[in-house]
Amino acid sequence: MGLFAPWFLAGLAALAVPFYVHLLRRHTTNPRPFSSLMFFERRTQSSIKHRRLRYLLLLSLRALLFALLVLAFANPFINRTAANMSGEKLLLLVIDDSFSMRAGTRLADARREALAVLDSRPAGNRSQIMALGSQLQALTQPSLDGGALRAAIDSLQPGDSRANYGELSRAVRSLSGAVPTPIELHFFSDTQKSAMPASFSELALPGNVSLVLHPVAKDSTRNWTVESVNAPGQVWDPKKTRVQAVVAGFGTPAATRTVSLMVNGKTAATKTVDVPANGRATVEFQSLDVPYGFTRCEVRIDSADGFAADDVSQFAVERSDPRRALFVSDAADSRSPLYFKSALASAEQAAFTLDTVSAGQASSMPLSKYAFVVLSDLISVPASLETELLRYVQAGGSVWIAEGAAAAHAARIPVFGGNVLDSHDYARTGDRYLNAGESDPSFPSLENMDRWSGVKFYFAVKVDPGDARVVARLADQTPLLIEKKMGEGKVLLFTSGLDNITNDFPLHPVFVPFVQQTALYLSGTQRRSGSRTVDSFLELRNSKEQSVGVEVTDPDGRRPLSLKEATTAQTYQLTRAGFYELKLASGRQDVVGVNPDRRESNLEVIPDETLSLWRGNSGTGEQQAAAQGATQEQTRPYSLWWYIMFLVFAAALAESLLADRYLVAPQQEDL
């Protein structure tokens, strides 16, 4: 018994009020006139009797009313054992259905143990079945219906998500606040070490939850898996396409594994690899001969372990022809086309064929057939060409402008539109050159900006970016790379040249991936890897593509999005392993291979000491279950406020009735 707000007990001083009303105030009642007092005598007895408390029952009720009111404000509570609060507890059965539960008979064992616990539950206790994947999912509501509970357990299928025990604890903490009864949590899992959260404190459970662990994997199991596959999303030249796969062993001895590259279900290549003990080995396939369009590929190993589900890694590739790009430069400029073309050609796959022309020639060429156009350090741009370029960009094309020394005399940047504020010839200053400064790493071609540190920029024009996006700057904050959206297309301005005069960028290796990635970005054919991880989110549309229908087909061939979701969903969570077919809001079609998180392949179990800590004591699970089954020692404060308010109401009602009876009568009383 305690009080939430004991300082309100000071209000008990108000108990003096009813005593005052009944004793003192009655003493000072108005005297009554009488004809003559000649027959009365003053007696001490009279005075004493006069001071006697009147209406003792009414006084008691009023004092009780005040005391209850004060008590209500003080908000008393009693500490009740959780078991006594309602005489029952919620039996919460959580079964781990993460990807690792596919190993051996783990899920079947977990279901069997869950059914056994369900059968041995005390009568009258409600039970609830949940499944733990990436999130805790309720399979039933708290129920006494044993049939429904058993059916939920029987119907549980293994998932592809990665378990997170921290998520389990968080969800149970939230649940315990909403459930008034104590919770007895039975967790059936392979107690995978990789499912532990980063901090052990995230596993903490509230006081009214008792955890009983049912490990279905007694010790760690060796397992080989295809940990990752590095394959391009797009294929332009099958002969030059490389596929790398990493084979990992967890708790495994050194062994030789056979790795197969499968294309559309057929084995395209097979290799053997020596995997060291508890280590990794890389396998590379030198070509990926796939037909045009999307192809479903996978890398498979013969692991010969008890976890076959992780012996394959799926990915999808799209094969297409190289696209054409237009490089416009002055006839006297032979360096920049050379470096640019060399950079594109040195790519692993030739995604583009480059046409190099002068400004005059470009004026008469149809631009729409080019994936993008490069204007490299043009002294002047013919008006007709600029008009065509603007039209081209508005229609969705991309233009890459590089401003070399020739731009120092120009007042404005063609197509881009910005005025040239200044030109910096750093070779004439004391520093002689500047390095690249800060950059926006989210820009696709600037992912490796840290490798630009050795690049020396001798010349750059200073341009007012206006509302354009500055994605890279020089060390003196001069914008180096500016992107401007125009209509449906975009213009990228490089404020230095693509030759080795205004900078030595083309002489650095980083120039090649920069050119390639920028070209892919500008052409709009950039495609991310054709594989994803289970529980990752797929972006279905961007901000400009609202109310456009999308289509998602899951590995089972079903369309999981409803009609409304198909027009409004921004993202889609990939919950199953396999190939998903997508029709995005942009109109593009795509196929992605989805693989489970490979941390699930590490079947190392949590040490018993850690499990004991999680349970909250050092005993075994059975001992703990027995102890918790005997008596629940956890107590919770139980507020008595509502009960007291009910008594206040009853006392007030009784006081009103009694006072009405007592106090009306004297008013009618005559002498």
Partner: protein, 296 residues
């Protein structure tokens, strides 16, 4: 039905003492017509045999002529009388437990007596209003307008001060010339010995003295349910009383007081009538007529 108009609570709703008095007396007289025992005015009463010494003017000579026997013819109300009402107007007369105060009741009674005396009996009537002094004095008379003067005197008699019988009676005796009927209307909160001793001299002058003891019912039987502080209306003294005391001691003392007053007034040859303010007024009127008949 007419008796209803003698109810004090009904009379309290009538404005004007003249109307009250007329209502009371007319109702009273109408009731008397059904009574074989009472008559008044110049009505024939009886024949009585002549005895030596009787006034020969009262001999009915017609009867003597027929029977040769002398009889005296007697009439009722054939003589005029003097009615003097002494009205106590002390503060104690303000007390009431219902719609009629003792003072109102006393005024109704006095007014009714005056109306009956002057209008029906053609008696002279006078009024003395007193507390511890003579507050007003209207000399008994049969003159025109005497009834209105008396009623006006009653209207102006508002209770105040304390009661003192001695001083007004001394004053009254100075004006007493003829014998008559003296009616005291008071609550008589004094010792019976002192009251009788003070009033008794009037009797020695040959007056018929009647004490109308006006009391409120709750003075006779007070009801208290809780200890209460009482204030004396005349002295403003305060005293705390308990219901138990009122129920036991007070009742005994009050009953003894009334009994003693009744005994001592009877013993002194005076009449005593206890009038409670919840009773009709005919008791007082009946007493008046009874006494007046006895004087004839």
């Amino acid at each position: 039905m007419l008796q209803r108009f003698l109810d004090p609570s009904v009379l309290a709703g009538i404005s004007g003492l003249d109307l009250v008095a007329k209502t009371v007396v007319d109702g009273f007289v109408a009731g008397l017509h059904r009574s074989p025992d009472f008559g008044f005015s110049q009505e024939f009463a009886e024949y009585r045999a002549y005895t030596p010494g009787d006034d020969l003017r009262h001999v009915d000579w017609n009867v003597f002529a027929r029977t040769e026997r002398a009889y005296l013819k007697r009439y009722r109300g054939e003589t005029n009388s003097i009615l003097t009402v002494l009205l106590d107007a002390s503060n104690s007369m303000k007390f009431t437990s219902h719609s009629v105060t003792k003072m109102d009741y006393a005024r109704f009674t006095a007014a009714s007596l005056f109306y009956l005396a002057i209008h029906n009996q053609r008696d002279a009537a006078g009024l003395i209003v007193f507390d511890d002094e003579i507050r007003s004095y209207i000399r008994p008379s049969t003159r025109q307008g005497q009834l209105h003067r008396l009623l006006a005197g009653l209207e102006q008699a508002e209770p105040r001060a304390r009661t003192d019988f001695a001083k007004p009676l001394d004053h009254f005796q100075q004006f007493l010339r003829r014998r008559g009927m003296v009616i005291f209307i008071s609550d008589f909160y004094d010792s019976p010995e002192h009251i009788v001793r003070t009033i008794e001299p009037l009797r020695f002058h040959g007056n018929e003295v009647v004490l109308f003891h006006v009391l409120d019912p709750k003075e006779i039987r007070p009801e208290f349910r809780e200890p209460t502080t009482l204030v004396d209306l005349e002295t403003q003294d305060r005293i705390e009383i308990t219901p138990e005391y009122v129920r036991d001691e007070y009742q005994k003392k009050f009953d003894a007081h009334v009994e003693a007053l009744r005994d001592k007034t009877k013993g002194a040859g005076m009449d005593y009538h206890l009038l409670t303010t919840d009773r009709p007024l005919d008791d007082a009127l009946r007493e008046y007529l009874s006494i007046r008949q006895g004087r004839d």
